[in-house]
Amino acid sequence: MYSLDVKSWYIARKNIKEKLKNLGSMFWTVAFPIMMLLVYKLAFSEGDDAPMINGLTVFDVEFPGIVVYTIGMSSVTSAVMFAMSKVDGTLERIDSMPVSRGNVFLGAVISETVFMNLQLILIFGFGYGILGAHFEIAMLPIGYLLAMIFGIGSIGLGLIIASFLGSPEGANGIAMLSHMSLMFVSGSFFPLDHGGVFFTPHYWLKQVYLQLTVVGDFFTDLLYSGNIILPTSQTSIFPIWSGILIILAFTSTFIILGVKIFQKKTTL
């Protein structure tokens, strides 16, 4: 019935224009990750620049955590965007036009994906290009793709949060709380030594990303030797595809749940 792609693109274009003019949103999505990178670099450089394992420094191993943080921020920005559209009446206004909710969701995914790309380019450029984090170039595109898939799952989480909250401020608070909690619990910021990490998608993204893009060729040796670097400070073996499956499951579950719950809560 509707030209899903064209209308979604115009919705995405509107979202992008709105977001670019929102300084607060731009700070959290672009400036804050760069600040975190600098903090990490400074925190781990003094005396820690010495390679901890096979030529990798603490900063090299922690850099994927910043990637997880940056991409996971999509849950916050999308929660705020959808909660705002509920409160200020723009969602209802769009509902009165010949546009489906499918257009609205796809538009949001497109606009958030554009920003995720911008964030990743900035983070990669700054982290790899300027601060010198180690990376395996052959595996980088796969890591990039996984990060994007995880980001789309985070949009789903944002949708779920926005469904239950009546104000953008509330959505921002809860989304920030959940994102930061997951960052800490997953050991993405600092390695944690507990089993709870396995229940967070953030852990798996960092883990897979770490293995693919940092450990790189060395990964095979580690797999054979049974010594995989884990943020839990433990060593164990897990096949990399299990991590990828968990990220895919997280993304598909959260985006489906997010769309369903948001539809249910906002269809009057």
Binding site: Y10, K17, D88, S96, M97, V99, L268
Partner: protein
């Protein structure tokens, strides 16, 4: 007393299909049957039925919370009715929402605009959602923005005044050449100049044959713009007709307003007026004012009353207004 009037009014006017055959086409573009909306056991709209002719301006008049906006939200497909049915043009409200959305323009009650965008971006977005041709959209957008005195502004609309946002919202609702325009309190919060501008514009839209459904609690607005008026209260249509029909069916007759110098004089006059058979109602107002409705001709009544009451400061005769009818039917002033 009020309840009985309302009941009477409902019996008399609850069939809004009794149109006169004045200048309008006989085609009904909207037909609503027993439409109902319930929120948590509260009936916001309680089984209303109405018909709107193509090209007319139909006003839903009522106090806050009467169910006007809920009715509009149902007719514009954003709210699902709990019961009842409606047809807009040849489309069923419940089953053909997408076709209906393509026909209508909606100016919601609040100033719903995308604050970070410019006025042109806002209007262009709505045009794109309606799949408009870019060149045609641009031309129409320029004309409409000019007409509403908001052309050429490049700042984000969040910096606009409330009145400018309201006018922009109106432009957004018109960009797609809607066949039916829904205006939910279009002049709420506007200054007199802007209000006049919007009224003139609405009159122009009527002239080109656009069907307009307007909600308002502004009596002057309803009075000056409407072809037909439905008065809503507590989710029901309690009166329906043209302004003349409403006046002839619901009016108390003529109105006389007395001003007295003191409360003592007012009470004396009130006692005497209560004895006069033509007097239908007597209402005390602030500042020693009495408002009397009466039947019969003004001149005869004037002669009669001047014999009885002589100690007044000023008196003023007038016809029953829409506000008088509204207050009589709803039994109270506007509510929050």
């Amino acid at each position: 007393m009020n309840v009985s009037i309302k009941e009477k009014a409902q019996i008399k006017y609850s069939d809004p299909n009794q149109f006169d055959e004045n200048n309008h086409t006989t085609e009904f573009i909207i037909e609503v049957q027993n439409l109902e909306k319930t929120f948590n056991d509260v009936k916001a709209v309680d089984g209303i039925s109405l018909k709107v002719r193509k090209g007319e301006l139909f006003s839903l008049l009522g106090p806050n919370g009467a169910g006007k906006s809920t009715t509009i939200r149902m007719l514009t497909t954003v709210l699902k009715p709990s019961n009842g049915s409606a047809r807009i043009k040849e489309y069923n409200l419940l089953e053909e929402k997408n076709q209906i959305k393509s026909l209508i323009g909606v100016c919601p009650q609040e100033n719903v605009v995308f604050g970070a965008l410019t006025a042109e971006d806002n209007v262009e977005f709505v045009g794109r959602m309606h799949g408009m041709d870019p060149a045609e959209m641009k031309k129409r957008m320029t004309n409409l923005l000019k007409k509403m005195n908001i052309a050429g502004r490049k700042k984000p609309v969040k910096s606009f005044s409330g009145g400018m946002k309201r006018r922009l919202s109106l432009v957004m609702s018109l960009i797609n050449h809607p066949q039916i325009l829904f205006l939910d309190e279009p002049t709420a919060g506007l200054d007199p100049q802007a209000r006049r501008l919007v009224w003139d514009f609405i009159k122009e839209l009527k002239q080109i044959g656009m069907t307009i459904i307007l909600t308002t609690h502004d009596m002057i607005e309803a009075d000056s713009l409407s072809d037909h008026i439905a008065i809503m209260d507590q989710g029901k249509i309690i009166a329906f007709g043209t302004l003349e029909e409403l006046k002839s069916n619901s009016s108390n007759g003529n109105i006389l307003e007395f001003n007295f110098s003191s409360r003592k004089e007012l009470l004396n006059a009130k006692n005497k007026l209560e004895q006069i058979t033509e007097v239908k109602t007597i209402t005390e107002k602030e500042n020693n004012k009495l408002v009397i409705s009466f039947s019969g001709g003004i001149e005869t009544f004037k002669q009669k009353i001047l014999k009885e009451v002589d100690s007044f400061k000023a008196l003023h005769f007038r016809e029953d207004s829409l506000e008088d009818i509204f207050l009589k039917l709803t039994g109270r002033g506007l509510r929050d």
